[in-house]
């Protein structure tokens, strides 16, 4: 131990890094961690903070590796709470890298630990993530079941933003499974919870989801107003992912109104956003829409290219059912 960092029960060398990371200032937290001596930085909590910061900074591989080290450190100390939190971050790293099977195992372990510890918030978060994985793997009922568990726990905690996310995810899955009326109900619940949370970003996403359901139910006029509001909210809150969602939905609407040029104008910036934030799922969904627009106006080669690109993006995430659907759509077009 270095003389300058002699610790006592009164010292807390990780304090600055912890405050920064938990306060959402990830770069600052990561910088603070790197100035600490190796034995502090390499403690289970130091590693966990590092994993959390690097995940938010987009360094998923490093985050996963460090989180696994943190998990093992906590486990060897018998610190179940720390082990659970580190397992969750390690799984989030695997998820971001598209290693769905590993992420699923990790979130499942974290969920079991959270269940043992009766940690409602961690149960909710793990269940939400497991729902997302099940959705990617086209296991609709499993996804909905996990979202129900997440919703029950977020509601218990009066954590409205989490609750809104749970309902929003349910709405998306229900929409994809063709249950539009239940999807609309779920998106309405998401909107109500988002309103209570005061989080304009998730409110915008919930409005976009509701708009998409109204398109499926044939109410294009209402869907347009909702999607426009979603875009405004996303722009107001600098929420690029929300902007990508809203633009894609507005493009779908333009396609329905037989305005393919406008549809392409709307969806192209959305694709750029998805690429920039390295979100393969959004990228794939946007590419699917681009393929559909091209197919509508007879640009077969462009449509095939877009569907194939969408298939590759879905494959990156292990979402093989969606990928094969894209390949089928591509193959069905005349070459």
């Amino acid at each position: 131990m270095s003389a300058t960092h002699r610790s006592s029960v009164f010292e807390d060398p990780l304090r600055e890094a912890r405050l920064a990371v938990l306060g959402g200032r990830f770069q600052q937290g990561w910088n603070a961690l790197r100035t600490l001596p190796a034995e502090v930085r390499g403690s289970p909590e130091g590693l966990l903070l590092g994993a959390m910061a690097t995940w938010r900074l987009g360094e998923f591989e490093r985050s996963r590796t460090v989180a696994i080290q943190a998990r093992d450190g906590f486990r060897s100390r018998g610190d179940t709470d720390g082990e659970m939190r580190a397992e969750n971050v390690a799984a989030a790293g695997a998820f971001a890298l598209g290693h769905l099977a590993e992420a699923e195992r990790g979130f499942n372990r974290a969920l079991s630990l959270a269940d043992d510890l009766a940690d409602d918030l961690m149960i909710a978060r793990c269940a939400n993530n497991l729902g997302n994985i099940a959705y990617y793997l086209a296991r609709t009922e499993t996804a909905l079941s996990f979202y129900r568990l997440a919703i029950a726990n977020f509601e218990k905690l009066a954590f409205w933003a989490g609750l809104a996310e749970g309902w929003l995810n349910s709405a998306i899955v229900l929409h994809d499974s063709g249950d539009f009326r239940t999807s609309r109900e779920a998106s309405e619940r998401a909107i109500a919870a988002a309103e209570r949370s005061g989080d304009g970003r998730i409110l915008g996403q919930a409005l976009a989801a509701r708009s998409e359901t109204d398109i499926a139910l044939g109410d294009l006029a209402l869907a347009t107003v909702l999607a426009e509001r979603a875009l405004t909210l996303a722009e107001t809150h600098d929420h690029v992912v929300g902007e990508a969602d809203a633009r894609r939905v507005l493009a779908v609407l333009a396609r329905h109104r037989a305005e393919p040029t406008l549809a392409l104008e709307l969806v192209t910036p959305a694709l750029k956003i998805a690429e920039r934030v390295r979100d393969p799922w959004r990228e794939a969904e946007i590419l699917e829409e681009i393929g559909t627009i091209h197919a509508t106006i007879g640009r077969t080669a462009d449509a095939i290219a877009a569907f194939n690109a969408a298939a590759r993006a879905f494959s990156v995430l292990g979402a093989e059912v969606r990928a094969s659907k894209m390949r089928e759509r591509s193959a069905a077009l005349p070459t």
């Binding site: 920064a20 499942n108 218990k156 409205w160 209570r196 949370s197 139910l217 109410d219 006029a221």
Partner: protein, 438 residues
């Protein structure tokens, strides 16, 4: 002392102005604006010092506040710097919250203080607010149900069966029964039994252990456990399989559940509310619902009337929704004109309150701001064959044509199946389709 918490707010800017009244409403608390130069009222529960871009002034104000020592001061600002947070606490703040990220946390913190204040005053949680205040209406039919509900609300353990058509507000009533009960501090969990496949339902309700079945990669608590010390609403309970009905009955009798794949049972203290839109007594007679469970659930039955039997509530509800939804979308509340009122009264509202709410929302969003155009109550451009919607307002002729088109669309163009669904001959269906033109 009423026990109602008092939230004093000092606003140094108006950035978060609307938030405080909403917070007061949510927490059933009194919100009052305080002057930083004056002593706080004696019954203040918490003080919120809202900086909102005036953080430096907030820091200067903190040491000058005249407040009792046991009143916490929550400083709220937009500055995420931890240095600022530390300084705020050093100068006498109890905690610092960044907006909007920490709104939930602030809400929970203030709620906990409010509950503690109520407890000290000897008042039950939520006292003072009518738990049924969220259910709008003045009709005799509705009030008969609410009067009955008020009589049972304080009995936190009693099992209630709520009947009513889809969209009549069964979950809203269940939630009010929970909120008004001594269990209000516990969770309220609602599950729609019709939305869950039979093979998953047992694990959904009772949870499972790891390895209990192929996809059980981890232990998962069930919704019964999630509602421990609270209320579990089993909506569309008529959809439960006979096997699960037996398990539910045992759980109700023993107050213990066993996760799928577990050898051990767990104690649960969960109140059950059940809801259905079907005639459960009929299901008992047909052997689809266990008689013993029916009588166990049917301790008190509350039947919500359909909206068509609450004619005098339709306009009131429409006005209520118009006000709420206009606020949601930042629009002026529109007055309902005579034409709108006539259109609202003429419709049968088969989807009940939920349908009315959708219709009002649509009209508000599509009409010019501050106006309510009844033509926007339902989609005019969407053909009924696309979404199964019946045009509204409409003549009987139009409704028949729309129903015929919707049925054909539902059966992918199979007119024989569509006719069977409608209970008419194929030839008659063909006549309806022919009438519609286009």
């Amino acid at each position: 002392m009423s026990g109602r918490p008092v939230i004093a707010v000092i606003e140094l800017s108006d950035s978060f102005h609307r938030v405080w009244d909403d917070l007061g409403q949510e927490l059933d608390a009194t919100v009052l604006r305080a002057d930083p130069k004056e002593p706080l009222p004696a019954d203040t529960t918490v003080l919120i010092l809202a900086g909102g871009g005036e953080e430096d002034r907030a820091l200067d104000t903190l040491p000058t506040l005249q407040r009792p020592a046991d009143v916490p001061v929550y400083v709220v600002g937009a500055n995420p710097s931890h240095r600022f947070a530390v300084e705020a606490v050093r100068r006498g703040g109890t905690d610092y919250f960044v907006f909007p990220e920490d709104l939930d946390l602030l809400r929970r913190t203030v709620a906990a203080r409010g509950d503690a204040a109520r407890e000290r005053a000897g008042a039950p949680r939520g006292d003072g607010a009518d738990p049924f205040g969220t259910i709008q209406g003045k009709s005799t039919a509705l009030h008969a149900v609410l009067d009955a509900a008020r009589r049972v609300v304080r009995h936190g353990g009693v099992t209630v069966l709520i009947r009513g058509e889809t969209g009549t507000g069964k979950e809203l009533l269940a939630r009010a029964l929970h909120e008004g009960s001594p269990r209000a501090g516990g969770p309220f969990v609602a599950v729609n039994c019709a939305a869950i496949p039979h093979e998953l339902m047992e694990s959904e309700l009772f949870g499972h252990e790891r390895g209990a079945f192929t996809d059980a990669h981890a232990a998962k608590p069930g919704l019964f456990e999630e509602a421990h010390r609270g209320t579990l609403l089993l909506d569309e309970i008529g959809n439960l399989s006979l096997h699960l009905q037996g398990k539910l009955l045992r759980a109700l009798d023993d107050r213990r559940i066993r996760r799928v794949g577990s050898t051990q049972s767990r104690e649960v203290d969960t109140r059950i509310l059940a809801a259905t839109h079907v005639d459960l007594a009929g299901a008992v007679q047909d052997g689809r619902f266990r008689e013993d469970l029916y009588y166990r659930l049917n301790v008190v039955t509350l039947t919500l009337p359909p909206l068509r039997d609450r004619e005098e509530d339709i306009e009131l509800l429409a006005e209520h929704f118009a006000q709420r939804l206009a606020a949601r979308y930042g629009l002026p509340t529109p007055p309902l004109g005579q034409e709108t009122r006539i259109a609202l009264r003429q419709h049968a509202w088969p989807g009940n309150v939920r349908e009315l709410r959708h219709a009002v929302e649509r009209a508000i969003l599509l009409s010019d701001p501050g106006t309510f155009d009844p033509r926007h109550l339902t989609p005019a451009t969407a053909p009924p064959t696309q979404n199964g919607a019946i045009p509204f307002p409409a003549t009987l002729d139009e409704i028949q044509v729309a129903a015929a088109r919707a049925a054909v669309a539902k059966h992918d163009g199979n007119k024989t199946a569509a006719a069977r669904q409608l209970g008419i001959s194929r030839a008659r269906l063909q006549r309806f389709l022919g009438r519609g033109g286009g």
